[in-house]
């Protein structure tokens, strides 16, 4: 049985198996960064033009779906223990898979989100209970997050949406791996992700400083940083994360 460390370091190496596809995914993420309304709102889209905002929102939603579908494929390849990266040719299928992942994500997060909204409503009149309710929703979010990883794995492995909600099988699988190990592996992956992101953010801040000196224009800076981040960083971390998620499943069915 491979240890936690092996899973994580294998996941970190995986994106380098096919740098070309990594960069294609990076280009998609760069597009997503450019299309996400929030990042450009303060720079070059006029805040009051609702149509532009809506159009950008739709574009970014479509790209997000595509990325989710690609992540589905990555998990699939990881479960099948394939070393190469998935291709981009079958676009329709990728969108269908993306919708599946979206459904699972929404379904798992809907209960904690409702609790959170209740808490937000309570906060106006009753501060004490509101804090408790919001804490409960945070705990629910965490539980949902942990279950969701296995649910997506289960769905991908069996290629059926229903399997994502087969709670008995999901919980069986996690206890087969051991809850401690499961939580440990996810936490460790997260710590690595945080470290990578912090370090990269640090480097990016240097880069943006240089760009700012060279170009002296907020729009160019944010666009360039968005492109760099999407092209190299987000694509890499997302591949890494999904690869590790898949290998958790591989460990669990042993």
């Amino acid at each position: 049985m491979a240890s936690i460390t092996d899973c994580v370091s294998e996941g970190l190496k995986y994106p380098f198996n096919d740098v070309k596809k990594l960069l294609v995914l990076g280009a998609i993420f760069a597009l997503l960064n450019l299309a996400t309304p929030v990042s450009l709102r303060f720079t070059h889209v006029p805040a009051n033009s609702i149509y532009v905002m809506a159009a950008l929102g739709i574009v970014s939603f479509i790209i997000t779906l595509f990325v989710m579908g690609y992540q589905y494929d990555v998990v699939k390849f990881s479960i099948d223990k394939r070393e190469d990266l998935p291709g981009f040719t079958d676009i329709m299928n990728i969108f269908v898979k993306g919708i599946k992942i979206l459904i699972v994500a929404v379904a798992y997060n809907v209960i904690p989100a409702i609790v959170l909204i209740i808490g937000a409503f309570l906060a106006g009149d009753y501060t004490g209970p509101a804090v408790v309710v919001i804490l409960i929703s945070a705990i629910l979010f965490i539980i949902a997050f942990f279950l969701q990883i296995m649910a997506v794995n289960n769905m991908v492995a069996n290629d059926s949406l229903g399997k994502a909600f087969d709670f008995r099988q999901i919980i069986d699988m996690i206890s087969n791996l051991g809850w401690g190990k499961y939580i440990g592996i996810v936490l460790f992956t997260f710590i690595v992700l945080i470290i990578v992101n912090v370090a990269v953010g640090y480097i990016l801040s240097f880069i943006s400083l240089f760009i700012a000196i060279a170009a002296n224009n907020a729009m160019i800076v944010s666009v360039l940083v968005g492109i760099i981040q999407g092209l190299f960083i987000t694509s890499y971390t997302s591949l890494f994360y999904n690869r590790v998620c898949g290998s958790i499943y591989r460990e669990a069915i042993k």
Binding site: S3, I4, T5, V8, S9, L12, K13, G180, G184, F188, I191, V192, I195, V196, V198, A199, Y202, I203
Partner: protein
Amino acid sequence: MILDIYKDALEYSAKDWKTLVILGVVALFSFLLLPAFIITGYNYRVINNAVHGIINGRDPLPEFDDIIDMFIDGVKVVIVQIAYLVVPVIIFIIFAVIAGNLTGVASSAVMIIGCLITLVVGVVACLMSQMGLCHMAYNDGAFTKAFDFKEIKEVIDEIGWFECILTYVGLIIITAVIAIVVTTLIGLVFTVFGISGAALGANPGGIFVLGAFINWLITMFIVGPYLSIFNARSIGLLYTMQI
């Protein structure tokens, strides 16, 4: 026994100056955060080599390859160390809060007791964390082994607490002495240069600046990496001292 450890570790770290320079270059870039983990990962490899070997003076230095694995090991080491060091910090904070709510003599008394307890716990935590790392390395990097207090305590019991602490204090002294001696020597050489240069009519300021720069270079690229490998190797060998 302790002297054997030091002798082996001192020789071991001086085996390959190229590795030292590579480590130095990595250390130079450690302000970018990721290289810092690579250095801890390399030290972990040194520990790993040491706990799986014996004092023989023939072990080669670990290879500087597979950077991603090294990074992951470094992250593990940092997690273990932080987890151990959190304990004395929390104890100190508790005492500080209590002392803050008291007044007069009672406050000072509580603070002094708190500092003493923190010191003891801190020393134990340092020792336990180093031994925990060795124990983790010995068990093929299994995370749970780094926090298996019972087994780690048994290991330290077998080596002897006194020997452990003695070795540790010795390490600190040797590290400090080497660092100070090297810096002082280079400083002295350049002071002599500077004075003789001034006697010959040159401006000594430039020579002193050059001396400080070379001092910094040597500390950065040679002495620092040397001492870090030396420390890791010594701790790893100490672990193998159990009967």
